[in-house]
């Protein structure tokens, strides 16, 4: 096939990337009518030819808040989610490559209401047995407070295209992405912005207890004021190997607007005191967090009117103490949201700035 040259002008600065077990970096890049997958053997310095994922052209949707998703299993299979117009204006499609990215299965909608209700804000998770979890916001339970329902499906036979749909919760803020991570007991944890009574948009943690049961939402943030507005800023979540959930989020509070960090060792029953991050005069936004063993890293974005900068802080003691913020990258061009990815040993910043996708190692 003809090589698609490095290239790819990502739609609205959205790219998702992840490592396979051999340290090869894979990424999904959306364009107007197609989604593409390519890979890099040198941590993102150079990429090989891109493979087109969707056989027929589709109108692809991707925004910095709702980018496509990628996960690579221990088997080497590459799992993707992306959003495109179908019978509804926004429909989540799943596809999978079992031949190291040479070809992809026919994209299938994951929602069993895809013909009747929009679904978007996708998240993808593989458990330790490579069972697939897919999460999305579903318009089938839209409420007048501007909230949708959070749905998920899990399967160990994703090629079957059978995704039994289950609701986790109503009252999910429609315009903010939901964060997912895997707990040490091999069950998923979800951090979502909810719409509480009186238009309070604060965050709650959910944990799957067994194959069919989820915990009730445990509220973990209290900054927001009553506001019938879309913040378009979802939280981020990382659970370390000993079960500490590291959480970062954005709030439009009365006293303090901006981004916050807290952790919990019991999935939201008790919390560390929320710590504010970033320079509020420079619009600190879009935090991400990743944990590898005792190491935790947080990145976020600031804008001073001319430069978009990504700042990072590092903790070597599971989020008790943090380094001073350091500038990791900057640009004057429009940029995507900063994302953290790990290969099991190192943590990298993945950031689209201007028309380039940068992968920058974050030193401890």
């Amino acid at each position: 096939m003809m090589a698609q040259k490095q290239p790819l002008q990502p739609l609205h600065n959205t790219v998702a990337a992840g490592f396979d077990k051999n340290g090869v970096l894979w990424r999904i890049v959306p364009s107007e009518k197609s989604v593409w997958v390519d890979s890099s053997a040198d941590n993102g310095k150079t990429f090989g030819p891109a493979v087109k994922v969707n056989p027929e052209p589709q109108k692809i949707h991707a925004t910095p808040e709702d980018p496509p998703q990628i996960a690579i299993g221990r088997s080497g299979s590459i799992y993707l989610l992306y959003s495109a117009d179908d019978r509804q204006k926004a429909t989540t499609f799943f596809t999978l490559s079992t031949d190291e990215g040479r070809s992809f299965s026919r994209p299938m909608p994951v929602s069993d209401h895809a013909d009747r209700a929009r679904n978007y804000m996708d998240a993808l998770l593989l458990d330790r047995n490579e069972n697939l979890y897919v999460f999305w916001h579903d318009q089938r339970h839209e409420l007048p407070n501007g909230s949708l329902a959070l749905y998920y499906a899990s399967t160990n036979t994703p090629l079957s295209g059978q995704f039994a749909n289950h609701a986790i919760s109503d009252d999910i803020c429609s315009c903010c992405r939901t964060a997912v991570a895997l707990a040490p007991d091999n069950q998923p944890v979800v951090l979502a912005r909810m719409v509480f009574p009186g238009h309070i948009r604060d965050h709650a943690l959910f944990k799957q207890i067994n194959a069919t049961t989820w915990s009730a939402p445990r509220r973990v943030s209290w900054e927001s004021r009553a506001l019938d507005a879309c913040p378009e800023q979802g939280p981020a979540l990382a659970v370390d190997g000993r079960g500490r959930s590291h959480m970062v989020w954005f709030s439009l509070g009365e006293d303090r607007q901006g981004i916050f960090y807290a952790h919990t060792d019991d999935y939201g029953k008790t919390l560390s005191p929320p710590q504010s991050l970033g320079n509020p005069e420079h619009l600190a936004v879009h935090p991400d967090v990743l944990a590898v063993e005792d190491l935790a890293v947080i990145v976020w974005q600031e804008f001073d009117g001319a430069y978009h900068r990504v700042f990072g802080i590092v903790s070597a003691d599971r989020g008790e103490q943090w380094s001073k913020p350091a500038v990791l990258a900057e640009t004057r061009s429009e940029s995507g949201q900063p994302k953290l990815i790990g290969n099991g040993r190192q943590i990298f910043l993945s950031w689209v700035k201007g028309q380039t996708h940068e992968i920058i190692e974050i030193k401890r």
Partner: protein
């Protein structure tokens, strides 16, 4: 060869501008447009409303604006959609449904939405809807979140110096 992408970029911008003209009286909101709006409305109290197709609270605001416009056609309302030019058809449909196409309508058209937002208000995180009320001397009050027709009435009629922007 290197110039081709740039030319394609200009061509698609021109095409998009044509689409804008065909769809109604949409104006591309680019760097400098905010100052143009201020200059155009000097001496008149007005409301500047930023909204997006993807924002459910904004749809409520559209209904409020429809009612307000019907009851008080004398008020000056300026709308800016923060969506992209390729969504112009959907933007037009939504405004048509609320009989708002004959208002002054702008659509974000620059390549850097963050910079456009910053030009309007360096303290705005981008939450929508976002409404600015300008008095005669162009002092402004910023409010995030959907407003009722009554909110608009009280804020548009109030021509005293407003409270500092939040």
């Amino acid at each position: 060869m290197k110039k081709i992408p740039k030319l394609i970029g200009i061509a698609s911008l021109l095409l998009a501008m044509t689409a804008i003209t065909q769809a109604g009286s949409f104006r591309p909101f680019i760097s400098g447009s905010y100052q143009k709006i201020l200059a155009d409305h000097q001496g008149t109290p007005f409301a500047l409303i930023l909204w997006s197709l993807s924002c459910s609270s904004c749809l409520k605001e559209m209904s409020a604006l429809a009612e307000l416009k019907q009851r008080h056609p004398e008020f000056t309302l300026v709308l800016i959609s923060t969506d992209t030019l390729d969504e112009i058809k959907e933007i037009n449909q939504l405004l048509e449904r609320h009989l708002l196409t004959d208002l002054e309508n702008w659509v974000f058209a620059g390549h850097n939405a963050q910079t456009l937002r910053f030009e309007i208000d360096p303290a705005w995180y981008g939450e929508l809807p976002r409404t600015y009320f300008f008095n005669r001397s162009q002092q402004r009050t910023a409010i995030s979140g959907a407003l009722s027709p009554e909110d608009f009435l009280s804020l548009l009629k109030d021509d005293r110096p407003p409270a500092p922007s939040q």
